[in-house]
């Protein structure tokens, strides 16, 4: 998972757009009445990855994902699907994405630390200096002073009593050392008791051997040969042996007690250092490790606890877990956090606030508990929070396909963060809007010819691409109005047709189309008008293009063609009037030719056509005129 992707997949919106850009507006209406848009066949993804379903993927695309990654997943592979942060080969659990997001928002909303944070940082720096690794000959007094400063640090809320935890561990270690000495004394006493008991037992046994030998020597031969053994002193010997056993057992117990007291303190200390590292409280981990190094020497540096966790943390096979190694991880992480915050400050001051937000997010994941993040100025945090919140809003709007809203919010973000990639987003928004508009146009065209099914399909498509498209509502209103007054439309159509107001009919062609659904005669006339006006419009557009390309004679030639379709069209007349001054010489000759041809003065007409052709050799009108009149010369 990518918690940022999940958090702000905003730019799923780009999906629509992206797909459109790739496939050229799927289902986009053609000028002719639209056929139902066929979804594109799923394309197998490269590398055998499953293809997206075409319909479901309309708002998803690789572009969108890349975009979301870029914005909200500053390092897409830094957080895995289980919420684990991978950093320099180490893995930290940052927790559930929603919680992390909430923590980041809370961090942005919190007031920056005042001077307290700096004082707190100064205390920790002092402790670090006291316990620095190069200060190996540090005196117990200095350690005790550093320890006492932990209580000062614990006074600050940002510390979260971490310093107290370290202080307690140090104290526990010292108490353990005292207990260890006590246990060592007790052990010596027990060893002495064992020696005494052994001595007593040995003495008694030797006395009994001596007594038995003497008794044998003084007794008669018959008695000497008997098998009976003397019993004098046996009970005492047994008692002394029992005493010896008891003393040995007590000695073993004292030794075990001594070792367990030592082990318990070491384990607690090591566990806490590891816990600090795993919680990404790197400064605390570093200070704890420093204390540990000065309190415990030699073999105690090797970690006895949390080997499994350490192996998970550092996924390197030949890594030997020691407290020094944890300290190095902590130092490295703190340097990264420090560098990250320096980058944030620099980017922000340069005006690259969006990039600053990215870097802050990145740094926050690692250095959430670091003082450097806490002292980041509140006014800057507020600006970044606004950018972050607006991006979230934009994402929600994009999910709702409210492209107008997205445009507005993106504009706000751009005002706050000039480096925000607004153009990329807006182009995708525009593409989605345009696709919706085109579907709507297709619906209107379908309505113009009375193709109700196509109207429905294209309306659905327009709504899918842009549910809040204002054109949909107005078209719906028009359709609703139609159902109320078909007879009105019939009357209006007839009147306009009689007056030759074809443009007026064309303007309301969709409405007429619906109204004449059951009137084939008028529907046929309507279709002819729509086709005729569409052709004229198309030719006018071509002429305008030639005019733009500084080819006025070509433009005129095209308008001539349009005039042959319907010379009375007012839009065409305006286009002709606009262009005529530019081609007056040609028009004059051509008009004379036409007039002469109409009068059947074919010889004059031919000469005028030739004159006009000299001005515009590629003239289609001249060529056709010459072909017409030359045989009649």
């Amino acid at each position: 998972m990518n918690f940022f992707k999940a958090a702000l997949p905003f730019f799923a919106l780009s999906a629509a757009s992206a797909q459109m850009m790739v496939s050229g507006i799927p289902g986009a209406p053609s000028p002719a009445p639209a056929a139902p848009a066929q979804p594109a066949a799923p394309q197998p993804a490269a590398g055998g990855a499953p293809a997206r379903p075409p319909s479901a993927g309309i708002f998803e695309s690789a572009t969108a994902e890349r975009f979301a990654d870029r914005i909200f997943d500053v390092n897409s592979d830094s957080v895995d699907t289980d919420g684990n942060l991978r950093w320099k080969g180490k893995t930290f659990s940052v927790g559930d994405s929603r919680i992390v997001r909430a923590r980041f928002e809370r961090y942005l909303s919190m007031p920056a630390g005042d001077g307290d944070f700096e004082k707190y940082g100064a205390i920790l720096a002092e402790i670090e200096a006291q316990l620095a690794a190069n200060n190996d000959a540090i005196s117990p007094e200095s350690i005790r002073y550093a320890w006492s400063r932990l209580f000062d640090a614990a006074e600050y809320p940002i510390d979260g009593d971490s310093s107290l935890v370290i202080a307690n561990l140090v104290y526990l270690s010292w108490r353990m050392r005292d207990e260890y000495e006590t246990f060592k004394t007790a052990e010596a006493d027990k060893e002495r008791d064992v020696k005494t008991a052994k001595s007593y037992a040995k003495e008694r046994a030797e006395f009994m051997e001596y007594a038995a030998d003497k008794l044998k020597r003084n007794s008669p031969s018959r008695s000497r040969n008997s098998q009976s053994a003397p019993t004098f002193g046996t009970a005492d010997l047994g008692y002394r042996l029992q005493e010896l056993q008891r003393q040995v057992a007590e000695l073993a117990a004292a030794k075990a007690l001594k070792e367990s007291a030592a082990a318990k303190a070491v384990l607690q200390f090591q566990s806490q250092i590891l816990a600090f590292v795993l919680e990404r409280k790197f400064q605390q981990a570093q200070i704890a490790a420093m204390f540990y190094r000065h309190i415990y020497r030699g073999n105690a540096q090797e970690l006895k606890v949390g080997r499994e966790q350490v192996k998970d943390l550092v996924q390197v096979s030949n890594f030997t877990p020691t407290s020094d190694a944890l300290e190095m991880i902590a130092i490295d992480a703190r340097k990264d956090v420090s560098d990250g915050m320096a980058a944030v400050e620099t980017l922000y001051d340069k005006g690259d606030r969006y990039a600053a937000l990215e870097r802050l997010l990145e740094t926050f994941l690692l250095g959430e508990h670091d003082v450097k993040l806490a002292v980041f100025p509140s006014e800057k945090r507020e600006v970044l929070r606004k950018i972050y919140k607006r991006a979230t809003t934009a994402k929600e709007l994009a999910d709702a396909k409210d492209w107008g809203g997205v445009e507005e919010v993106v504009g706000e973000i751009s005002a706050l963060a000039p480096d925000f990639p607004a153009r990329e987003i807006l182009s995708k928004v525009k593409t989605a809007e345009r696709a919706s508009d085109m579907a709507l146009i297709a619906a209107k065209q379908a309505a113009a010819i009375g193709a109700a099914d196509d109207v429905k399909k294209n309306m659905e498509r327009a709504a899918l691409l842009w549910p809040l498209n204002p054109g949909i509502q107005s078209f719906n209103d028009e359709l609703l109005g139609l159902t109320k007054g078909i007879s009105t439309y019939v009357k209006k159509f007839d009147e306009n047709l009689e007056r030759g107001n074809l443009r007026d009919i064309m303007d309301e062609a969709p409405e007429y189309g619906i109204a004449f659904k059951n009137d084939p005669e008028r529907a046929k006339k309507l279709r002819e008008i729509v086709v005729k006006i569409s052709q004229i419009d198309s030719l006018i557009a071509q002429a305008a293009e030639f005019e733009r390309q500084k080819s006025p004679y070509f433009a005129w030639d095209i308008l001539e063609n349009a005039s042959r379709i319907d010379s009375s069209d007012p839009v065409l007349a305006r286009a002709v009037a606009r262009l005529a001054p530019e081609v007056s010489d040609y028009v004059k000759a051509l008009n004379r030719a036409k007039a002469a041809e109409e009068k059947k003065a074919f010889a004059s007409a031919l000469n005028y056509y030739l004159a006009a052709q000299k001005i515009f050799p590629a003239s289609q009108a001249c060529r056709m005129g010459i072909e017409r009149v030359a045989p009649k010369y």
Binding site: A596, K600, A601, F602, A603, S604, L606, N607, Y608, L610, A611, Q613, K614, I626, A630, P631, K632, Y633
Partner: protein, 124 residues
Amino acid sequence: MKSKTTPIIIALAIPIVSVALAIALIYFKKRNVSGLDEFPYAAYSASPESLRGNRYVLEAQMDVQLANVEGGRVVAALGGREGFPVAVLVPDSLGANISAKQRYALVVRVGEGGRIIAESMEKY
């Protein structure tokens, strides 16, 4: 005794005579042997019918044959130094072999409807 001014007079007379000869040549060129005027293209363009019945000399370069009609063929020619386009009916009776880019001096008549009809033609 030779006059000192004679060579000077001769030197001045030579260019004057040359210019006069050139002007005369141009004049006689325009007023060809038939004594006809050059074809007035501007007047024809303004009102072809107004020249009906007139005869002119048209020096033109043949461009393209436009059509075969009864009694002859219609040829597009570029007349005068400006190369104005005119359509000329060349009757079959002239027996002319017309090719593109050839230059002719034609005696033409403006007929009904402004039709320009070649009466004679001479390559030059």
